[in-house]
Point group: C2
Chain length 400, copies 2
């Protein structure tokens, strides 16, 4: 008998994972993943970067680096984040092995077994897994179209016998819900959390991928508002704006939290991949990043709008959804009595895969939504695949 | 007040870390790090690999991969490990973000706060940090010249009121002690641990770097002996045989442990860097790895032998050390009453840095040794730097 730790018991294999082998099979149309389109990666620019490295830079790429990140990338990334309005001077930056690692490290910094954390429902599965792995008690706050339900947020905080250790949320083009937080909701969150000793983990990996310039003002981050009386831990990533295979993310946090997180990272993987850091640094320094983001933003917009258009044309009236205005995802509310797993099974029979709602439910139960991503399928494929999902819903609901 | 988790309190900044800025200053001679020589990296081969990738391979390098590793690297690495005698068919392989991550994941799989683990003293600082981060109680077994003290290992197990959760050890060219375990000690370890429900974490990252062909038979791993009645979790790394900047290691473990570790890794960083995995896979497949290892083995042997020679010429008689027969390190026992930190301070004044013994002591106290590494300094620099250390000891001991 192997004697595992009790924290491991909290971890479970998700439906999404069991589906990933199907989702990557060449015969399947996959709306399941949250990966950038393969054909959108800036291969030529990265080739040029790799071929332009001098001997010393190549050595740096293969050597250990400092735990918090290569100084050159910390510098170029700081400058880039500062231009976006983030308070880099009054905070400290750590390069992490993807933003999931940043979230995981923060969870470890704050959580003892049994501690409560405030999470949205639905929420990003990676963060939920990280919190579960530290045996957190997930206290859920439902999402509306403009952000978390503030009344319920207050209720949750007031009705808890012990104070939650932090609030985790995602402001822009939410995974899976696709929504953007309104400025009003963010201000109310600040009011509720001020001087409560409940830090915010603000996870923002999609905000560069907006479809409409006019949305930008309302997308302002809580970290950028730099509110008094709240520790805001901002996490971000190169995964959606350069390539997830580099495994590079970051956290921007107050100094006292930085000190702890550095020690934790030292005990996890010593440092993030240097080879990736050298590439990402040059990608920023040589001015490619903003041009590249503009380019993919246009392509994801085409896909997102094609997704909306196709859904509107073929979904039964009883299915509703918030139209995405950026990011990677649409989140469909199924008709009453329609179970997402039934729809998924029926769709898979016809060669289309996506992710069921309960995957994103912190309680792992609620299954009346499906997440249909449009990031890794071109417009033609979207037009071909979406009707299969619509048909599956009709069959399950006897609407055919 | 930020409310941190209790596990974070166990983590501390180490002397070695505070010294690293000194150690990398160009004016300093550094015997401190455990990094490969910068000038030894196979830059040309990696350039060729990067330039030979087809479009699809480049896309794979930038995309998310499976949590347990890219299938092509799992295949090539399995084959390479099998040739070394490891039981890859009856176990499962996971690619990790460095071997420290493998050790960290295994610690998380086994440890609840307060659990005991058996560790060598001295021991690898990275592993100790990982175990401390899970609030483990470190139960130490002293090292002799041929491996851990078996009598004391038995005592520790028998005198514990609760059974230790695992034993962590490093068989070949130990960091920091430099020793190689004898076959006899490994067999006795197997006898002691059989059917005890105490898994072994066998951490082996230096064994390719032997100086003498004749040592190879005795270096056989416990994992390769495949003993009945013990779960052996083997961890290894590309860091010393290709480049630590890739951040790639692995674990080879029984299936039930693999299942848990996969879930843990999913919650830590989702997958290891794909770009590094593509490079490492080609490095193995194109047959570079064994040729490259032979090359650096010769260079490290030159450095190691120069280190022994210089130490023998200039050390006071009252300092003793085990002559290294491979790996990266020499481990000097200071004369009675001589504190390693005093020697270090004196050496730094003259421009030479190394690591003090207490860094590697699980209790963080014993400071009668110093670790002098020869991996990242050429022969000339060794001849120049070692006398500075010898002189510092003389000054401290009033032997001048």
């Amino acid at each position: 008998m192997t004697r595992f730790s009790s924290s491991v018991a909290e971890l479970r294999s998700s439906e999404i994972r069991d589906l990933m082998s199907l989702a990557t099979s060449p015969d399947m149309i996959s709306f399941a993943g949250g990966m950038p389109g393969n054909e959108l990666f800036p291969l030529n620019k990265i080739d040029k970067i790799l071929n332009s490295l001098c001997e010393k830079e190549k050595q740096v790429a293969l050597q250990y680096g400092p735990t918090t990140g290569l100084p050159t990338l910390l510098e170029s990334l700081s400058e880039w984040l500062e231009k976006k309005g983030l308070p880099v001077k009054s905070n400290k930056l750590i390069i992490t092995t993807g933003s999931l690692q940043a979230i995981n490290i923060l969870a470890k910094a704050f959580l003892d077994p049994g501690d409560s954390v405030l999470v949205e429902t639905p929420s990003f599965i990676g963060a939920l897994s990280a919190f579960r792995s530290y045996q957190a008690n997930l206290v859920t706050v439902p999402l509306n179209g403009d952000g978390m339900d503030i009344k319920l947020l207050k209720d949750r905080i007031n009705s808890s016998s012990v104070k939650p250790k932090f609030l985790y949320y995602s402001p822009n083009f939410h995974n899976p819900a696709g929504i953007v937080y309104s400025e009003e909701v963010k201000k109310e969150m600040i009011d509720v959390l001020r001087n409560q000793e409940i830090p915010i983990i603000e996870d923002d990996v999609y905000s560069d991928l907006y479809f409409f310039e006019e949305d930008r003002p309302k997308m302002k981050l809580i970290k950028s508002m730099d509110p008094e009386g709240i520790d805001v831990c901002f996490t971000g990533s190169f995964s959606k704006i350069l390539g997830p295979g580099l495994r590079l993310g970051w956290m921007l946090v107050p100094d006292n939290i930085y000190q702890k997180c550095e020690l934790i990272k030292q005990s996890i993987d010593a440092c993030s991949p240097s080879i990736s850091q050298v590439v990402a640094d040059k990608f920023i320094r040589e001015g490619h990043i903003d041009a590249y983001i503009s380019e993919v933003r246009e392509e994801y917009k085409k896909r997102g709008l094609a997704m909306i258009d196709t859904l509107e044309k073929c979904l039964p009236e009883s299915v509703s959804f918030e139209k995405p205005r950026g990011g990677f995802y649409t989140w469909l509310q199924l008709p009453e009595g329609c179970d997402a797993t039934d729809v998924l099974k029926k769709s898979i029979e016809k060669g289309v895969v996506f992710v069921t709602g309960k995957t994103f439910d912190p309680d792992g139960i609620k299954n009346d939504h499906i997440r249909v991503s449009f990031c890794n399928t071109d417009v033609e494929t979207i037009k071909k695949g979406v009707p299969v999902i619509a048909e599956a819903i009709r069959v399950i609901m006897n609407l055919a």
